[in-house]
């Protein structure tokens, strides 16, 4: 028997399983207050999922608002936070939309499907802005490379991303793979998607216009990801006991590919008034959010939702997270055209309701009213918590344990090879060769380049030509953030910003995925608050606004949380994509120069981690003014055609940057250092980059650096079959390659 509104009003004291659905007593009381009665089972399903941490950001909201209050003034921002994804103006009438989102917990439970549906979900966010998705990236964190469970999780995650993304036809152009034992029970799978659209074609999640139809299209609804709702359906309503159902969604990339092409044709035909993808919280989320942002009301007949499993109860339909579904608001006169396009692409589409001006979201099941709520109370007016914060008990001791006490190596050649072959710095080709980086033929740069880059002009047939390109990079260093979450978040931004700039692109906007432990732990909450404060401050200094992102809490096992891991994505634009700067040494006979200052900064460094298993002290200083000047030099020099190659300095310092530069095309180099060779080679000071310049262009380049007050040190020249640091070390490129390439295949087969 179905719980309906009339019955709920008559049985005010009937116990409801709100606690099983993760709702607190006071939150449940607030629902009763809003409705003036107890909620029906279906209403409880909606509120419980919409007010969950994942959907409501109830613990993070009070901090995240700094991204708005501290936002730098930006003419580029067309759509900011709060929509499915941010949109930025990239010039010539084009706009880019991008966002990164976590799928951490599902990827631990079922690595393949968890990671695959992570890609699928972020791609639909981008589609729902009216854009054509054009590329994906993945920022991944796993437990120790030699830990047993990493052998289960990593291959599954990579295969999930590979099978879904490749089948979808989106090039995978970059990302990260990081190993640390702190992620062993909590791997991080952060998926980023970028799309392009014409500036005047932005779509929003809104349902205006009473009488307009609500269309559900794409895959049918099944029992995916509704662990919670099954509790509701079986525990409360004496229903036949539902078998335990999979809590992880299952993806169908073929349907998603059809959805992309179908949506783009629907947009081109101008038959969509508002659109929303169905992700977390499925129909609950789409209906409440669309209605809340539109005229305010909507009526839905849940019996019309096409089901893959006809035994589903309404509560389960509302909470199902079946993939590859979208909801559109369509004028009645456009329904035939809408349907015809869906039929062409074999995409099922069903009218399940219409927009009203009643201010209520009303749903029926078998003719009975089972939901009757003000939609904004579920979508926007969720609880907000100001959670207690406390600096972690061991923080001061951690910061006091500086790396000065660690033995410095005598043999720097051996140290270089040890670092280069360590899992975090070794070649990631074992992973990235499983991703298609070429599809759609717009990939200008892809991994292992510092940033992925795509040309814009060829993206949509018939659009006016432009020479522009966009660049994207993601970065994050959990060890730095553990030592100092404020600086760690700033360093993550600085590195992604720098990685975009070294390709010649001007950094424009930011997305972020904030991966933390439990917000109910004041020490974790302190890390979170510090990281958000640091990131917001840095975005203001660097002049790049946050356009959107995602928070993932509860990445912890028992009382042990992961390192705080803010992952930051930066999008940049290059005016003439033909001027892009490739990563590394391209030919012989070029001058090699180091930009930026080097200090002895080893806290949280890759050297301390690999050589000593040490984590202590403070991370490198985040000098944002220096980052800004460095980026200005790199972008100007690229535009003038002065740079033959470049590479960002980060994990492993100059030594690793030199080695990777040699590996890019098999070109060696000979350099000399004036100061302490160990510090010069392995310090991880920020705001530095390695560049190569034709000898005849060097004076002009040096002048550009001087104009921007960026230190420029000539180190030597490219050429030969070895990397030579005079008087310090010499390694053949072949040995570098063997060391660099061998590690992951040896671990993962």
């Amino acid at each position: 028997m179905t719980d309906n509104v009339e019955r709920a009003a008559g049985t005010p004291d009937e116990p409801m399983p709100f606690a099983e659905l993760g709702m607190k007593q006071d939150e449940y009381d607030r629902v009763k207050e809003i409705l003036g009665r107890r909620p029906t089972g279906s209403e409880l399903a909606i509120y419980s999922v919409m007010w969950s941490e994942h959907c409501s950001y109830k613990s993070s909201k009070v901090h995240l608002k700094q991204f708005a209050t501290k936002a730098p003034k930006s003419d580029a921002l067309l759509v900011g936070m709060g929509e499915n994804a941010g949109v930025v103006d990239i010039g010539d009438g084009w706009a880019a939309t991008f966002k990164i989102e976590s799928h951490n917990h599902p990827s631990y439970v079922e690595p393949h499907q968890g990671a695959a549906t992570g890609v699928g979900g972020i791609v639909r966010d981008i589609m729902s802005m009216g854009a054509r998705p054009i590329a994906v990236m993945d920022a991944l964190r796993f437990g120790g490379a030699d830990q047993n469970d990493t052998r289960r999780v990593l291959p599954g995650v990579v295969e999930g991303i590979s099978s879904y993304g490749n089948c979808l036809g989106l090039p995978n152009i970059g990302g990260e793979v990081v190993f640390d034992p702190c992620y062993i029970g909590n791997p991080l799978v952060n998926a980023l998607c970028v799309g392009l659209l014409r500036k005047d074609q932005i779509k929003l999640a809104t349902a205006p216009g009473p009488g307009n139809k609500v269309v559900l299209f794409g895959a049918s609804t099944g029992p995916d990801g509704i662990g919670g709702a099954s509790v509701l359906a079986s525990a409360t309503f004496e229903d036949e006991s539902q078998a335990k159902r999979p809590a992880v969604q299952v993806g169908d990339p073929f349907m998603e590919k059809l959805l992309i092409e179908c949506c783009l044709e629907l947009y081109a035909a101008d038959v969509v008034v508002g659109i929303q993808d169905l992700g977390a919280a499925g129909v609950s989320c789409a209906t409440t959010e669309l209605a809340a942002k539109g005229t305010g009301g909507m009526s839905v007949d849940l019996n019309l939702v096409p089901l893959r499993d006809p035994s589903l109860r309404p509560e389960e339909i509302l909470m199902s997270e079946s993939q590859e579904r979208m909801m559109a608001v369509v004028r009645p006169s456009d329904i035939p055209a809408f349907t015809a396009i869906c039929e062409k692409w074999d995409v099922p589409a069903t009218v399940i309701g219409e927009v009203t001006d009643t201010g209520r979201l009303v749903m029926t099941w078998d003719g009975e009213v089972i939901v009757d709520i003000p939609p904004g109370t579920a979508a926007d007016d969720g609880p907000v918590y100001e959670r207690p914060l406390r600096e972690p008990a061991g923080q001061a001791a951690l910061n006091a344990d500086v790396p000065d006490r660690l033995d410095r190596p005598a043999d720097l050649r051996a140290t270089l090879l040890e670092l280069l072959g360590s899992p975090n710095l070794a070649s990631k080709e074992w992973v990235t060769s499983q991703y298609d980086r070429y599809v759609r033929s717009n990939t200008v740069l892809a991994q292992p380049a510092d940033a992925g880059m795509l040309r814009v002009s060829e993206v949509m047939a018939g659009a006016e030509p432009t020479t522009r390109g966009i660049a994207l990079a993601t970065d994050g260093n959990g060890r730095y953030a553990k030592l100092d979450p404020y600086a760690g978040a700033q360093l993550a931004l600085a590195e992604a910003y720098r990685n975009v700039a070294v390709t010649g692109a001007r950094p424009l906007a930011v997305t972020n995925c904030l991966n933390f432990g439990s917000p109910e732990d004041p020490e974790v909450m302190w890390q979170f608050a510090e990281a958000v404060r640091g990131l917001a401050d840095a975005c203001r200094t660097l002049g790049v606004p946050v356009t959107g992102g995602n928070v993932s809490f509860y990445n912890q096992t028992g009382a042990t949380a992961i390192h705080p891991t803010p992952v930051v994505g930066v999008l940049g634009v290059i005016d003439d994509v033909a001027r892009r700067v490739p990563t590394g040494f391209t030919t012989e006979g070029l001058r090699v120069a180091l930009l930026g200052e080097t200090a002895a900064e080893f806290g949280g460094s890759e050297w301390a981690h690999v050589a000593h298993g040490h984590l202590g002290g403070l991370p490198p200083q985040a000098d944002l003014e220096a980052e800004r000047s460095l980026a200005a030099v790199l972008v100007s020099a690229a535009a003038e055609g002065l740079l033959e190659g470049s590479h960002d300095l980060s994990d492993g310092g100059l030594a690793v940057a030199l080695a990777e530069s040699c590996l890019a095309r098999g070109v060696g180099a000979s350099v000399s250092l004036t100061d302490d060779a160990f510090t010069g080679l392995f310090s991880e000071s920020a705001a530095r980059a390695l560049v190569t310049v034709r000898p005849e262009a060097f004076d002009r380049f040096a002048k550009l650096c001087a104009d921007h007050e960026v230190p420029c040190y000539g180190l030597g020249a490219t050429g030969g079959a070895s990397l030579v640091v005079e008087g310090v070390l010499e390694v053949t490129v072949a040995e570098l390659r063997e060391t660099h390439a061998g590690t992951l295949p040896a671990l993962f087969g």
């Binding site: 059809l258 991703y435 033929s441």
Partner: protein
């Protein structure tokens, strides 16, 4: 006259825009062909691009071969229409029995995307006449099921008739006889696992423009005809 090359789109085809761009780059006309139409639109040649047609469900290419368009294409190919299938297109040509053998799961059991060295074994096809026999080229490969297999008799016949069009230098997937591409006996139908359409411009795709040869070949063939 302009050479008109049809580019087929099945549900799940991915490289159709790329193929059309490559056709236009050499000065030919790219004509979109839709899987559900019984219409080849009078094209002079057909390109079956890569992707995951019908999601590769059941078996790669197994559903596509029954598409309405294929009922037009198969007899036309048997009568000499030049056809090039790459990747999923190659798989479809095998499923449709326009080419012998089959493409199975890579020996590594992993999808592989890399810039692959290849050797052009025969120029006696409308798609490879612009190359020199024995020429080494680099094209991207990107597939999970590209391991070419055939019976010993078929392999022997392919070799004896000069039907191996392109061979891998450094076998990436366990293909028998390092086979990366073959032609039918008549020579008009060619299937390749590598992707020439991703190696036609300096700015994007693979670090090679060797793919252009396949497109200049067909243009030359059609214009000379």
């Amino acid at each position: 006259m302009s050479a008109r090359v049809g580019i087929v789109t099945f549900p799940g085809t991915l490289d159709d825009q790329d193929a059309a761009r490559a056709v236009r780059l050499v000065g030919a006309e790219a004509v979109p062909l839709w899987h559900a139409d019984h219409d080849l639109k009078g094209v002079d040649a057909v390109f079956l691009p890569g992707g995951f047609s019908y999601g590769d469900y059941l078996r790669c290419g197994a559903i596509s071969r029954f598409a309405p368009l294929m009922r037009e294409l198969v007899p036309a190919a048997r009568q000499g229409l030049p056809v090039l299938g790459t990747c999923n297109g190659f798989q479809i040509l095998c499923e449709a029995h326009l080419l012998p053998g089959a493409l199975t799961r890579n020996a590594s059991l992993h999808y592989v995307c890399r810039d692959q060295r290849l050797k052009v074994e025969t120029t006696a096809t409308p798609w490879t006449n612009a190359f020199a026999a024995g020429q080494e080229i680099v094209l991207p490969i990107k597939h999970g099921e590209g391991r070419y297999v055939a019976s010993a008799d078929t392999l022997a016949a392919l070799e004896a008739n000069g039907q191996v069009v392109v061979r891998y230098l450094g076998n990436p997937n366990g293909s028998l006889n390092d086979i990366a591409g073959i032609r039918n006996e008549a020579g008009n139908v060619v299937g390749l696992m590598p992707h020439p359409e991703h190696a036609v411009e300096d700015l994007v795709g693979a670090p090679s423009t060797d793919g252009l040869g396949f497109f200049t070949s067909i243009l030359k063939k059609l214009v000379d005809a």
